[in-house]
């Protein structure tokens, strides 16, 4: 299976929480949004869902 880590944009939520250790929930969100992140698509849910899940740094 191709599980290449997507390139993370400097303005992305991933960059904003770069110093915070990833939680299992955060890793799962990254996995779910892997195609969005890979091609740099705009999807407001990429911001709203982590905030709803109360992920640290969001």
């Amino acid at each position: 299976m191709n599980t290449d880590t997507p390139v993370i944009d400097a303005d992305s939520p991933e960059a904003a929480r770069a110093d915070i250790p990833p939680t299992p929930q955060w890793l799962r969100l990254q996995r779910l949004f892997r195609h969005t992140l890979k091609v740099g698509e705009v999807n407001p849910l990429l911001l709203i869902v982590p905030q709803y899940r109360q992920e640290p740094g969001t």
Binding site: R28, F33, R34, H35, V42, N43, L45, I48, V49, Y52
Partner: protein, 280 residues
Amino acid sequence: MTLIQADTVIARVCELPALSAVVMELIQSLGDDDLSADQLAKKISNDQALAAKTLRLANSSFYGMSRQVTSITDATAILGLRTLRSVAMAAGLAGSFPATASGGFDFKAFWRHSIGTALCARALATAVRREEEIAFTLGLLHDIGRLALVTAFPQQFAKTLAHQRANDLLPLDAERSVLGTDHAAVGGMIAEHWRFSPAIVQAIAHHHAPTDGDEASLADLLHVADNMAHALDMSQQEDDTVPPLSMAAWSRLALDEARCTQVFRQAEAQHESVCQALLM
């Protein structure tokens, strides 16, 4: 590539175990309030499996009933015609396709996602003031093309799944690459073949690519609800992924964070109880 032609799809779908006559009638009667509550109760009561599942769902925490509903007649009086119709359709659809093993297709995850999309669509419909019953039913039906493909073309679909996993593709891209068609197009054909209303056919066929327009359509609502159900991980399938979101559809629905959060809370609060009632 194993191209599947449109006429072959329809021919094979005709050979599939049909949706029960009651479920077909219920879906075709969507939006028609002339169907009387008595007629509806009789139709459901004549199908024992459907009646049992309908009662189980009516008694689940989804509907928050204060007392046990013990008969379909009771359910009609307590839930009302529209709600009972959507409960019975959900129960009937979930029981219509046998969960036979097929190349790693996960039926449980499929239904968990479909139910999640139905609940997101229903909550979204409330938020944007659209018909909740139709939205719920569309959520349940939106990936019916996938179910039809795996049931009617098990070997070809197994190749599609293998190709998708090996290359970490979106399901739609893997289907187009291996089969030459995709589940949205097939779903639209099936919905048309089953003589569902044009609005339902259009919404299913375009749920991954809503057409342009000035006003929010059912396809927009379904598209965003599907995206939300993936983003909320409602299928719990390890390789699930959020498909591309149409920003035009998103804008037409005029959603903001507060509305989304409300939709998420409502859908997640009901998801487990509906899955338990329908997937037992």
